[in-house]
Symmetry: C2
């Protein structure tokens, strides 16, 4: 090489840290993980919470079936291994968004305690807020916006959580919601209170 001067310069790595990003945003990054039966209202509450946080100037992102199942996880089915890998990948992406200083809302049935525990463990102790969106299965069946419970009862959908596959409820979630009796706004307020108590967002 006749001209390799540039090899002598200092290739110093200047990183933007999570702390830098959080200071710019004025709030911490964190994952709010909504778990519960189909039609329990996970995605609705997650999106309403995001909208509420947005009005407060908070940086948000919702990770749900709409943008994950058809993209990152489109090569996964519903076998036990694929369900586990589905949640593993979502947990890793959620962590990346937390590191980017963003409050990310994850809305997936995520029926297994072990899988949710792993998603929690890869993040810091104050970065993961588990929200159990509880609903009696008979109420969920009454809603059934996608007709999935009907198909599951008919055996047309196999291994459907709550009907023909287990749901392992969280034993000690940061937030417990019952959407058979609580309104969406009430649910959003309950999560907001925990975000404030954990100092993810400012109190007031």
């Amino acid at each position: 090489m006749s001209d390799v001067k540039a090899t002598n310069i200092t290739w110093h790595q200047q990183r933007v840290t999570r702390d830098d990003l959080e200071k710019m945003n004025g709030h911490r990054g964190a994952t709010v993980w909504f778990t519960g039966l189909s039609a329990s209202g996970k995605s609705t509450i997650a999106n309403q919470l995001a909208a509420r946080l947005h009005t407060m100037g908070v940086r948000t992102m919702v990770l749900d079936g709409d943008n994950v199942r058809h993209g990152l996880n489109k090569n996964l089915g519903f076998s036990p291994e694929d369900r586990e890998e589905n949640i593993r990948r979502i947990g890793e992406v959620a962590k990346l968004f937390t590191q980017a200083g963003i409050i990310n809302m994850v809305a997936f049935i995520s029926p297994y305690i072990r899988d949710r525990q792993r998603a929690r463990e890869i993040q810091g102790p104050d970065d993961f807020i588990e929200v159990h969106v509880d609903i009696p299965v008979d109420v969920a069946e009454t809603r059934d916006p996608k007709g999935l419970y009907t198909k599951a009862r008919q055996g047309l959908v196999k291994e459907f959580t709550g009907i023909s596959a287990p749901y392992e409820a969280p034993e000690n979630p940061e937030v417990y919601l019952n959407t058979a009796t609580q309104s969406v706004d009430d649910c959003v307020e309950s999560v907001l209170a925990v975000l404030k108590a954990k100092k993810v967002i400012a109190n007031g």
Copy 2:
């Protein structure tokens, strides 16, 4: 159920759109995809660009081996299929960050045109900026900060891009850099100019 009032309320889905997030940030989301040989300087330039953008109040995230290979993609090796899946997942995560209104820098060798093309195609036409970080392989070997070229020459590392595995250079990248002759600052300025020209960030 004695009290199912809440099932009658409107579970209206209020979404925070990409447009909402971009307006709040004051800039667009986009993926800046750095491709090139090992030791070409991809990660250094990506991080320096992020630092520069951060001082301008821009929301950034760097996706590289440090936070992707050991997390989301830790179950992937270096077989052809795994390399393809590695880049596919990174492309999908980059898209999620773009949708979150964030300028995300991807720094991976990503040696195959087809894989990079797929990462481009899943995003909008103005959302993907490919940066070829070119360097003659003999210069990269001189740098060799991780000793990988030496090991590849000794046959201790198999299928090493540029030595024993192909690198398919971009035919028409948005930005071409030659890190044997350009400084890091020059490289960062070149990418910044394209981000302004494409109106990802404001001009001035």
